[in-house]
Symmetry: C2
Subunit: 180 residues, 2 copies
């Protein structure tokens, strides 16, 4: 079939998005590298861990939240472990399982660098958006997310990660912490 090219509006939106996301990720990485000694992805790992009651999460669940491959996560956690931010533990009910647990030191790093991170997110993004735009951004983001992974993979709409079998055992729900 003949290609449906982007309309001028779409083209402008696309350009703006690509440029913005590049700049944003750059700014974030730079700031976190500076203040916390790690890139954004790694910081996000600590943040997610800090949000569970037990401050620990199974590798697969973590990978799912982060939208990265298990292999990639293994590498990342290895580095975080080497730096003392995370400890690996065995999962009690599933002997195959590994649980990544936030250490005291990891928590400390998180608390120490969270303010700067939030400040950067504000300065780069939210300080320039109206409340309506914040809502729009969430809606747009959610749609993309749904399109890109609700699509081919999980047909079940209610298989929430934090209620999954594997998780229910080794860790649990949500809460609010230093997660930006």
């Amino acid at each position: 079939m003949t290609t449906r090219w982007l309309t001028p509006e779409e083209q402008r939106a696309w350009r703006a998005y690509v440029a913005a996301s590049l700049l944003l990720e750059d700014a974030l990485d730079r700031q976190l590298q500076q203040d916390a000694g790690m890139p954004h992805l790694y910081y996000t790992i600590l943040a997610y861990l800090s949000e569970t009651p037990e401050r620990r999460l199974r590798m697969t669940d973590l990978a799912e939240k982060l939208k990265i491959t298990r292999s990639r996560l293994t590498y990342a956690v290895a580095r975080l472990e080497k730096d003392g931010h995370v400890r690996r533990e065995a999962c009690r009910w599933d002997k195959r399982g590994t649980v990544a647990a936030l250490t005291e030191e990891g928590m400390a790093v998180l608390e120490r660098s969270a303010p700067g991170h939030v400040a950067t997110v504000r300065a780069s993004l939210f300080d320039h958006l109206t409340p309506e735009q914040v809502g729009q951004l969430e809606e747009i983001g959610t749609r993309i997310e749904r399109a890109l992974q609700g699509d081919g993979a999980e047909p079940a709409p209610e298989s929430l990660p934090w209620l999954r079998r594997s998780s229910t055992s080794c860790n649990a729900g949500e809460s609010g912490d230093a997660g930006a």
Copy 2:
């Protein structure tokens, strides 16, 4: 000063954005790697080149458009040159300068893979947005862009890259091509 944490709305928007941009960039990279044998950034380089009348751009101008460092661009162009998609030429008026020129082969690759790229962008993004949301996305993206580079660097609001001294000479304006 005490940190202004993100509001729940902002937090949701932020999460949605981070997840979406990760997934999107992944999808794009995968598709282009598959169809064009190069990641998104490299494809974008070719696309930008294809849009100038002369199909060539100075390294610095290109780096600026792409929002990456010159060093990083040097590496990227080296690879593209090795693959025959781009040729390096000397800039006539500024003997320091290098101009990256799109080769016929590069143009062919671009034309061959553009439909697939556009299709991916549509399937991942625009097919799921209303026309209003397309406008919102552009507006939000533009604001981020402005925040992150209008800020510290160029105080002059009208120093458009394609009108800059160095550019006016070796290359020029805009047009529409295979640039997604």
